[in-house]
């Protein structure tokens, strides 16, 4: 998941569709995010490249909508409903995820195992 500055970022992504759960007045997704361009990337335990300032999934609550949809801890979120998540601040990412009007969020996430799987299938 490393990137070369100036070049488009390429990654193998998985489409995940999460249906928000209504909990009283709130709509919850069931996971936590960390990262952002205003945060310190070296503290990120999930990133391979410690200068990666993307948004990462730091916790997935058990049985929640995110886990059901297939989101895993350590995933890097590339897009939320078409909005880019690779160069946003932490707060912007949170806002994009928690829009009150939307019931469904469609994420594009990437993880290392996806790349490995694709590479392995290409080798055969």
């Amino acid at each position: 998941m490393s990137f070369i500055p100036g070049q488009p970022v390429t990654a193998v992504v998985q489409r995940i569709e999460i249906h928000k759960l209504r909990d009283g007045d709130n709509l919850i997704l069931g996971f936590s995010i960390g990262g952002g361009i205003d945060q310190d990337p070296s503290q990120n335990p999930f990133s391979e490249d410690k200068t990666d300032k993307g948004i990462y999934v730091t916790r997935v609550s058990k049985g929640g909508p995110a886990e059901v949809a297939g989101l895993r801890m350590g995933d890097k979120i590339m897009q939320v409903n078409g909005w880019d998540m690779t160069m946003v601040t932490h707060d912007q990412a949170r806002k994009k995820l928690t829009k009150k009007g939307e019931d469904v969020v469609r994420l594009l996430v990437t993880r290392k195992s996806l790349e490995n799987a694709v590479r392995q299938s290409m080798m055969h």
């Binding site: 919850i28 997704l29 996971f31 936590s32 995010i33 960390g34 205003d38 945060q39 310190d40 503290q43 730091t58 916790r59 609550s61 932490h90 949170r94 995820l97 928690t98």
Partner: protein, 602 residues
Amino acid sequence: MLSHNTCTVRSAHGPKATFSPERRQVLVQTGQGNQITTRLLRPVGKSKRACVRARVSSGLMFDNRKPLERILSSCAASYSIHSGYSHHSNRSRGSNKQSERSSRDRHKSHSRDSSSRSDKNVTISASSAQPQQPDQGSAPTDAQDDNWGETTTAVTGTSDHSLSQEDLAGFGKETEGPVEKLNCVRFLPLALILALGLLVLVTPLSFLVLPQLMWPERLQPCGTACEGLFLSLAFKLLILLLAGWALFVRPARASLPRIAVFRALLGLLTLLLLLSYWLFFGVRILDSQDENYQGIVQFAVSLVDALLFIHYLAVVLLEIRHLQPCFSLCVVRSTDGETRHYNLGQLSIQRAALVILEHYYKDFSIHNPALLTAAKSRAAKHLAGLKVYNVDGAGSDAATAQSRAKIAAAARQRDTSHNELYYEEAEHERRVRKRKARLVVAVEEAFTHVRRLQEEEKKKPPGDEMDPREAAQAIFPSMARALQKYLRTTRQQHCHSMDSIQAHLAFCITNNMTPKAFLESYLMAGPTLQYTRESWQTRQWTLISEASVTSPLRHGSEFQLKSSDFSLVVTSKAIPHLKLSEEYVHPKSHKFVLQLQSETSV
């Protein structure tokens, strides 16, 4: 080695022994009725050799140097004795004389185990001949004991290497050196300086006075200008003399091996100046009998000006030039490796040595030879362990081959002396700490007995008033024993005499010091200046240097300062040229951001 057998110990004097083959013991009864049980450590039957281990029933330890008779007869302490003696079949006849022999040189294979114990052991070997009186410490040789060497067990822990109290007490006193006889050479520089000073004083005055004396009628009178010149001459001369006195007429700090180059040069320069002025005076003024008195006075004033400038040169060369540090000198004491660093300017080697010695007396802790004996004994043991025999006849390279063989063998050998060292040091540390604790408590208690008399109490009739010395003498006995034991454990007892301790105690009491302040000079080894003059041991130093001692210090120059017991090895390094650059920081440029690691749940 610990298989026990019985043996006979019988002696013509004092102890009588009974032999009991059934019991594996021998009972030796001494004159005073104490029983000594001895156990043989080797089978006695067929071999002629036996080792006896004896223990006094009272359980005290005994010094191993005394002959057996004294040990057995006085029984002042218990001891453990290893003895080997020849055991003949007709032993029942014998007055088997037992004489002690310390045989630390003759080690056996299992001797290492016994020597690793810190017991004091003695080897007693009996000769079947009957010398009537044993010698004090030496052992009469056993004629019949051909193979006593094999069965004699080892011996002597530390007693052979420790110094007795008398030896140590003599340490401080031996190298007092010859009494300072009046050395005329010491005063030669001072005499020369005084002579030069006198010449300097006399010359301008004589320049002024001589024309007045020799041709007074022809001199032109000069008015106020001359008077002004007289005044300035007088004051300049006064200032010159005072400055010269301040700079040059000082008691010599030390006698250096070679002349001080700068001083000699300056003296020569002054002399040259004076001579040239006299020459001019003689030729131009005396011979031609110049009438212009003002000119003569100005001549004299110019001389004094020149002399003042020479004095300025002297100040710069002698005092100021070496203030800026250029070299860093590393001084290492050869006996215990204590190291200090000093920064000096550009000095000659002899002057640098002088400065270092002045610092030595205040910075280095006092040289204590008693602390070095342990290392020497270890070194002796390393060397004594191996002997090389040349079986193939003498070769030309025998020496180097031997030494190499020794080194190789020593490397292969599994040496457990490090183990010994570790435990010895741990034990010593523990002992020192125990003694220190006792000492601190004793001193604190002693100090509580003394109290300063308050002002109002002084007016009342004196009950038991004492001055500090008496007060010190009064409380000293309660702490004397603990202090003496502590000093003995840390091997400092020769540095402090009873008088000095009492004087120090009186000093502390006078100045309201706490017990801790009093003890500090005994707990830590202080610099040499702190102790009385007797323990300084030397004021005679030898400068050993490859370069000439008047040559200036350079990077990498080395020299040694040798005294009678140790030497100081000095190496010099130039202080590197430091490059300082500047970075300007705007006062408003300090801005900070917080780094957050927030995790939001969505």
